[in-house]
C-alpha cells in the first residue's frame, strides 16, 4: 500500500486545470471536425481574429474586461461558499443605475460623474444581490435557485422599463437615450491619440484599467483584510465562523453584495464605455461566462485574469470565425464555453486521482533514488 503524497501547487492550480482545458479544446476540435470544418484552420482564424491585428487586441481586451468583472463577482461569493448565478441580472440592474445616473445627472462634470455612475452601478447591482443574499442568510432559501429567478425577474423588469419608461418618445427600439458625450468613458485609442500614439480604434476603454485595479483590490480584500478573512472562514466552515464570532449570515450578505457590485461594473464598460446607451440584454451572457472564468481561474484574481483573457480571445476570435467561415457561427464559441465549463468546472476532479497516482509513483521513485 503506497502512501499518497499531496500534489504540489503547480500541479494543483496549474497543470490540472490546463489538462482539463486541453480536453475541452480537443472535444471542441472534434465538434468542428464533425460539422465538416478543419479544426486547425479554425484555431488559426480564432488566434488571428483575437490577436492578429491591432484592433483585434482591443476587442479581445474589451471582452476580457467584462469577464474579469463577472469572474471576480463569482469568486467573491464563492469564497463565502455561495454560488452566485445571478451576475447576469445584477449586471443588468447595475446598467440601470449607470444609465439613470448618466441621463438624469448629466449636468455633472465627467470625473464626478464617473464616481457617481460607479456608485450607482454598485448600489443597484448590490441591491439586486441583496434580496437573494438576505433570503439565504436569514431564511435559508438556496441562493442558486433564487439568483436564477432573479435573473429572469431582472430581465422582465428591464424590458418593462426600457419599453415603457426609458425608451425615448417616438423610438421603436427598446433602448434608452444616448448618454451625453462628455459622460462617456474615454476609449483607449483616444487616450493614446492624446498622448500622440496612433492606435486602431476599438471598444477598449478606460474600464479595462479599472478592471485591473479592481482585481488587485479584490485580491487585497480577500486575502489581506478582516472581512475577506471572515468571508473565507464562513465559506470554508460556517460553524467555525460562528465559533469565532463571525456571524455567517452577515458575511453572506456582505459577500453577495460585493459580488453584485462587481457584476455591475460590466455596465460601466458596456453602457458608459461602449454602447453609450442602455440596450436590451446588453449583458449578453457575460454573467454566466463569469462562472467559468472564476472556476478556471481557481477563484484567484490572477487566474481570473488569465481565464478572462482566454474567454475574451474566444469571443473576439469567434466573432471573426463567424465572419470567415459561414458554417461556423458564433455558436461555436458558445459550444467551447460550455465544454470549458463542463471539463474545468464540473469534471475538475476527473484527472486528479490518476495524476495523484502518477505523481506519487514518480515521487517515490525519486525519493528511493535519493536514498540509494
Amino acid at each position: 500500500m503506497s502512501k499518497t503524497v499531496e500534489l504540489p501547487r503547480w500541479i494543483d492550480v496549474g497543470a490540472l486545470p490546463l489538462l482539463n482545458l486541453l480536453l475541452a479544446l480537443v472535444v471542441s476540435g472534434l465538434v468542428v471536425l464533425a460539422i465538416g470544418e478543419n479544426p486547425v484552420q479554425v484555431v488559426e482564424i480564432l488566434l488571428y481574429g483575437a490577436f492578429g491585428y491591432e484592433e483585434a487586441w482591443g476587442y479581445t481586451l474589451y471582452y476580457t474586461t467584462n469577464f474579469i468583472f463577472t469572474g471576480l463577482a463569482f469568486a467573491v461569493a464563492f469564497h463565502c461558499g455561495l454560488f452566485n448565478i445571478g451576475a447576469e441580472g445584477q449586471a443588468y440592474i447595475g446598467g440601470l443605475g449607470v444609465t439613470l445616473a448618466a441621463l438624469y445627472l448629466d449636468f455633472l462634470p465627467f470625473p464626478i460623474m464617473l464616481v457617481v455612475a460607479m456608485l450607482a452601478a454598485m448600489i443597484f447591482g448590490a441591491a439586486w444581490a441583496y434580496i437573494p443574499a438576505y433570503l439565504q442568510a436569514r431564511r435559508g432559501s438556496h441562493v442558486v435557485i433564487t439568483t436564477i429567478m432573479f435573473n429572469f425577474i431582472a430581465s422582465s423588469l428591464m424590458v418593462y422599463l426600457l419599453v415603457n419608461v426609458l425608451r425615448p418618445e417616438g423610438s421603436m427600439t427598446p433602448e434608452s437615450e444616448q448618454i451625453a458625450e462628455h459622460l462617456r468613458l474615454p476609449f483607449i485609442h483616444d487616450i493614446a491619440a492624446a498622448l500622440g500614439i496612433d492606435m486602431a480604434s476599438s471598444p477598449l476603454n478606460l474600464s479595462f484599467v479599472y478592471a485591473i485595479v479592481i482585481s488587485v483590490m479584490v485580491w487585497l480584500f480577500i486575502w489581506h483584510t478582516r472581512w475577506g478573512y471572515a468571508i473565507r472562514t464562513v465559506g470554508a466552515n460556517a460553524v467555525a465562523a460562528t465559533y469565532a464570532g463571525l456571524e455567517p449570515g452577515r458575511f453572506i450578505i456582505i459577500a453577495m453584495m460585493i459580488s453584485g457590485a462587481l457584476s455591475s461594473f460590466v455596465a460601466l464598460n458596456e453602457v458608459m464605455g461602449v454602447q453609450h446607451r442602455l440596450l436590451i440584454d446588453f449583458t449578453a451572457g457575460y454573467g454566466f461566462v463569469g462562472i467559468a472564468v472564476a472556476l478556471m481561474g481557481r477563484n484567484h484574481p490572477f487566474g481570473i485574469f488569465l481565464a478572462a483573457l482566454l474567454f475574451g480571445m474566444l469571443y473576439q476570435g469567434g466573432a471573426e470565425l463567424s465572419f470567415e467561415i459561414p458554417t461556423i457561427s458564433n455558436d461555436m464559441v458558445v459550444v467551447i464555453q460550455g465544454l470549458v465549463i463542463l471539463f474545468t468546472g464540473a469534471m475538475e476532479h476527473m484527472f486528479r486521482p490518476r495524476v495523484t497516482k502518477i505523481y506519487t509513483a514518480w515521487r517515490l521513485r525519486q525519493d528511493a533514488g535519493e536514498a540509494a
Partner: protein, 527 residues
C-alpha cells in the same frame, strides 16, 4: 501481546466471524492495521478502544460498507467475499451504525423494508412486512409504531428501528456501534435486555462501546484496539476495567495529576438559571446554576449528549440562551442578548470547543490563518488597515514552539497536521491569549499521552495564574485529575456537585446516570 483464545475452548464450533489480516487506509490515515478477530457464535463480543482507534472502520468493513485493502472475512467458517452491504446482509450480518442510517422522512415501516421490499410494487411486500414487524416487536419487546415518521422519533426509538431493520433482514450476527452513547440509562438498560434475548436465541452480537462498565456487565469476550491495531483479546470474566483501560491507552492510566491546592478568589463566571434549546427547540440545558471563581478549575462531568455541549456553546456565545443569565465579572454576558462569541472574546473569554474539526479549525486554511480564528481583529495583527501576515506568522511560530506543534510550519495547511497537533494549535491560540476565563471541552480527545500530560499542565498553570477554568469532559479520569470542583450533568440539569477530593468513579457514575447525589453518596458508603 496477542493472547488469543478461542479454538481450544470452544471446541469444534466454528466462530461466527473470523477476520484475518484486515488492513485499511484512508489516504494518510492507517485506520486498520492487519487486524485478526474471532467472534464466537452465540456470544456478545465487546470491542473497546479510544476515539479513532479504528473500531467503526473495522466493523464497517465486515458489513461491506468499506472495502478492506487486504485481509479476508470468514463467516461460519466459510470465506466470504464481502463487496457491499448486500453481501453482508446475505450472510446474515446486520449492523447498527454509530451514525444512524435512516431516512428521516420515511415511516418506520418504509425504513425497515428498504432494500427488501419483496417485489417491484410496494403493496405486495408491505403487509407482510407489517406482520413480520409485529412479530419481531413482540419477540424482542421493541414496541414502535410502524407508521410513525422516523424523523419525529427520539434517538432511542430510532435505534430500535435500526435494530428492527437488521432483524427483519434475518441477521444472525448483529453489530452495534456505540449504541449507548446517545441513550438514557433506561433506554440503555432496555437495549441490554434485548441483546440478552438475542443471545438466548443463538444470535451473535458485536458491541462497540467506550464504557467499560457496559463491557463488564454485558459481554462474554472483549477485544481491545489501539491506534488501528488489535492489541488484545480477553474473556470478560478474566479481565478488569483497569486492565482494559491500560490496554486501550497503551500504558498505565494516569489517575492523578500532580497539582497544588487551588486558591479560589473572586467569582468570574456566574451562571443563573440558564436554559438552552437546540436547533429543534428541544431544551438541552435546564436551569443550570453555578459559579466559577478565579483560580479554580470547575469540571463538568456527564454522559456525552446530556447538555454539556449546549452549555459550553451558550457560554461561548455560539448558541443563544433561552432563559436565565450569565455574568462575567458581574456584567451580563448572556448569549443572544447582543453578546456573541466575538464580544465574549473581547471581554477575555477563551473557548476551546469540544469538536475541533467542526468548530475550532478551518482545515482548508494554513496554520497561520487558523491561528487567528476569532482574533483576526486583534490590533497586533493589523497594519495599515490590512492584515499583517508577517506578524501573524511570527505569532503562529511562537504558538507552535510553546505548544510543541509539529511540524512547526505556519504555512502548512491545517488539514495536514495530525489530530493531536491541531488540538495543540487550538489550545495554544486560546490559552496564549491569557484570558480571564477559559472554557474548554474535551481538551485531550484524540491526543497522545505525552501531549495529554502537557495540556493538563498548561491548564493547571492557568488556574495557578489566577484564571477561571471551566472544563467539560466525558473522561472521568480527566475530570477527576484536573478539576477542583466537579458538577455532574444529567439530562440537561446539573444534578449535583462533588468536591474533587471526595470524588470517585462510582459516585460520579451513579450521578451521571441520574441518581440523586445524596443517594449516590449513600450507596457509595454502603459499598
Amino acid at each position: 501481546m496477542h493472547q488469543m483464545h478461542g479454538a481450544g475452548e470452544t471446541g469444534a464450533v466454528q466462530p461466527a466471524i473470523e477476520l484475518r489480516g484486515i488492513d485499511k487506509r484512508f489516504g494518510a490515515v492507517h485506520a486498520n492495521k492487519e487486524i485478526d478477530l474471532k467472534v464466537d457464535k452465540g456470544t456478545i463480543h465487546g470491542i473497546v478502544g479510544e476515539n479513532g482507534a479504528g473500531k467503526s472502520t473495522l466493523m464497517s468493513i465486515l458489513y461491506g460498507f468499506y472495502q478492506a485493502d487486504a485481509g479476508t472475512i470468514h463467516v461460519d467458517g466459510k470465506l466470504c467475499e464481502i463487496n457491499g452491504s448486500e453481501d453482508a446482509i446475505a450472510v446474515g450480518i446486520g449492523m447498527v451504525h454509530q451514525h444512524f442510517m435512516l431516512v428521516e422522512t420515511f415511516s418506520v415501516l418504509e425504513n425497515v423494508i428498504l432494500g427488501v421490499e419483496g417485489g417491484a410494487v410496494l403493496r405486495d411486500g408491505v403487509e407482510k412486512a407489517r406482520e413480520e414487524l409485529k412479530r419481531l416487536e413482540r419477540e424482542y419487546s421493541l414496541n414502535i409504531d410502524p407508521d410513525a415518521i422516523v424523523g419525529d422519533l427520539s434517538v432511542g426509538l430510532q435505534q430500535r428501528v435500526e435494530i428492527l431493520k437488521a432483524l427483519y433482514r434475518g441477521a444472525e450476527i448483529l453489530i452495534l456501534d456505540e449504541p449507548t452513547g446517545v441513550l438514557t440509562p433506561q433506554e440503555a438498560d432496555h437495549l441490554f435486555r434485548i441483546l440478552d434475548t438475542l443471545k438466548e436465541q443463538g444470535k451473535t452480537v458485536v458491541l462497540i462501546t467506550h464504557k467499560l462498565r457496559e463491557i463488564m456487565a454485558a459481554t462474554d469476550n472483549v477485544s481491545v484496539m489501539r491506534q488501528g491495531a488489535m492489541v488484545a483479546h480477553r474473556k470478560t470474566a478474566e479481565t478488569s476495567p483497569e486492565e482494559l483501560s491500560e490496554l486501550m491507552v497503551g500504558r498505565k492510566v494516569l489517575l492523578r495529576l500532580e497539582k497544588g491546592e487551588s486558591n479560589p478568589a473572586a467569582t468570574v463566571l456566574k451562571v443563573d438559571n440558564l436554559c438552552v434549546d437546540n436547533a429543534q427547540g428541544v431544551r438541552k440545558v435546564k436551569n443550570a446554576t453555578f459559579t466559577v471563581r478565579a483560580g479554580e478549575i470547575v469540571g463538568i462531568a456527564g454522559v456525552s449528549g446530556n447538555g454539556q455541549s449546549e452549555l459550553l456553546e451558550a457560554l461561548g456565545g455560539i448558541r443563544s440562551a433561552s432563559e436565565g443569565t450569565v455574568e462575567l465579572n458581574r456584567q451580563d454576558v448572556t448569549a443572544g442578548k447582543g453578546v456573541d462569541a466575538a464580544e465574549l472574546r473581547r471581554r477575555g473569554v477563551a473557548h476551546v470547543p469540544e469538536d475541533r474539526h467542526r468548530m475550532a479549525m478551518v482545515t482548508a486554511f494554513s496554520a497561520k490563518e487558523a491561528a487567528i480564528l476569532g482574533y483576526e481583529d486583534d490590533p497586533a495583527y493589523q497594519k495599515g488597515g490590512l492584515l499583517d501576515w508577517d506578524a501573524i506568522s511570527a505569532a503562529t511560530a511562537n504558538m507552535m514552539s510553546e505548544f510543541d506543534v509539529r511540524p512547526d510550519n505556519p504555512d502548512l495547511k491545517a488539514a495536514n497536521f495530525s489530530g493531536g497537533n491541531q488540538q495543540k494549535l487550538v489550545l495554544a491560540r486560546e490559552i496564549m491569549r491569557d484570558p480571564e476565563l477559559l472554557l474548554v471541552g474535551q481538551p485531550t480527545r484524540g491526543v497522545d499521552i505525552g501531549a495529554i500530560e502537557f495540556i493538563h499542565k498548561r491548564i493547571v498553570a492557568m488556574r495557578d495564574a489566577g484564571k477561571a477554568v471551566l472544563l467539560v469532559s466525558v473522561e472521568l479520569d480527566e475530570i477527576m485529575s484536573l478539576a477542583d470542583r466537579i458538577l455532574v450533568m444529567c439530562d440537561g440539569a446539573i444534578i449535583g456537585e462533588v468536591a474533587a477530593s471526595e470524588a470517585n468513579e462510582r459516585v460520579l457514575g451513579l450521578m451521571m446516570a441520574g441518581v440523586d447525589p445524596n443517594e449516590a453518596k449513600a450507596a457509595e458508603g454502603q459499598a
